[in-house]
């Protein structure tokens, strides 16, 4: 029996590849033989990531997914160069923290555009005939915030809940093309962004860490779950949200 976590010969697109979780996923997939297409708006971060990866057959593209109207032509160009995809991982998300009285429509729209609408548009394009290989798996990084409320993260939580809801529908609709689609819902993960948040020392919401009785998660915890969902080991799983939450949802 072949090893389902051998990704050699697989072409996988990762958006938001330069951030804490995205770069961990890229590292793990590269180590398992995947050929990666890395997309991020952070050019320096992408270059640093490329330098750290094991092999040299990856490509990177600088692109800001906030430009919703430009996604179709961007992706069409990329896929013409790279060929059809075996996987797509979305790690892009604005981690918006705003009290309600500053949560004006323009900000709500911006968060929804980047965290939700861009993802839908990516899926729409890559699921076109010729852009994917049979058995393609799509994974988006969601959040337990989509299922648990907290102060100051209304737009963020709503955008992640929107992705979870959409994925349940897309699973059904994409089944005829033999495409699976799932989300991973992490709780708090030890990333540079979290360290910055901690250093602010503002307690505006539930003490997160006390509810995660397994402690702070690591990027590899999320990455392991993503690789599982990308692989044939999860071949009977679609339309689901997999918590990677250190027990948060049970506490």
């Amino acid at each position: 029996m072949t090893n389902p976590f051998d990704f050699s010969g697989h072409t996988i697109l990762i958006t938001g590849a330069a951030n804490g979780i995205g770069s961990e996923i890229a590292s793990m997939l590269s180590a398992q033989g995947a050929r990666l297409i890395l997309v991020d708006k952070d050019k320096a971060g992408l270059n640093e990531l490329l330098n750290n990866l094991h092999t040299s057959n990856h490509s990177s593209y600088e692109f800001d997914v906030a430009h919703l109207e430009g996604i179709d032509s961007f992706l069409t160009k990329v896929l013409k160069e790279a060929g059809p995809l075996d996987g797509y991982v979305n790690c892009i998300g604005i981690r918006s923290r705003r009290p309600l009285n500053l949560l004006v429509p323009a900000i709500v729209s911006q968060v929804m555009a980047v965290n939700f609408s861009a993802f839908i548009e990516f899926v729409r394009v890559i699921s076109r005939k010729g852009n994917f290989n049979k058995g393609m798996s799509i994974v988006s990084i969601s959040s337990i915030a989509a299922q648990r409320g907290n102060a100051v993260v209304t737009a963020y939580a709503a955008s992640k809940a929107a992705v979870d809801g959409a994925v349940r529908c897309l699973a059904r609709e994409l089944h005829s093309k033999k495409i699976r689609i799932n989300t991973v819902a992490p709780s708090q993960i030890d990333t540079p962004e979290f360290k910055k948040l901690q250093s602010m020392n503002l307690q505006t919401d539930d003490p997160i860490l006390s509810r995660q009785y397994m402690g702070l998660g690591k990027p590899y915890d999320v990455s392991n779950a993503v690789l599982f969902l990308l692989s044939s080991a999860s071949g009977f799983i679609t339309g689901s949200t997999l918590p990677v939450d250190g027990g948060f949802l049970t506490s």
């Binding site: 500053l102 250093s199 020392n201």
Partner: protein, 72 residues
């Protein structure tokens, strides 16, 4: 923006009664200046003044004037 306008903006955003704050007001005396207000201040400084305020800097503020000076 004048300092008076900035003070009015602070009062409005932090939902403090108009006319309560002046430059010399000690932040420790403002009941509404809790952790939610501090996050609000961080977002406000970025939105309105393009300045990135950190938790460390907020700790160093003693009076309303310190906030106004940061806003620039």
């Amino acid at each position: 923006m004048t300092n008076n306008e900035k003070i009015r903006l602070l009062e409005e955003t932090l939902e403090i009664e108009e006319g309560t704050l002046n430059e010399d007001t000690n932040l420790s005396e403002i009941g509404e200046f809790d952790s939610m207000a501090k996050l609000t201040l961080i977002v406000l400084c970025d939105d309105e003044f393009g300045k990135k305020l950190t938790g460390e800097q907020i700790k160093s503020f003693k009076t309303v004037k310190d906030i106004l000076d940061f806003m620039g």
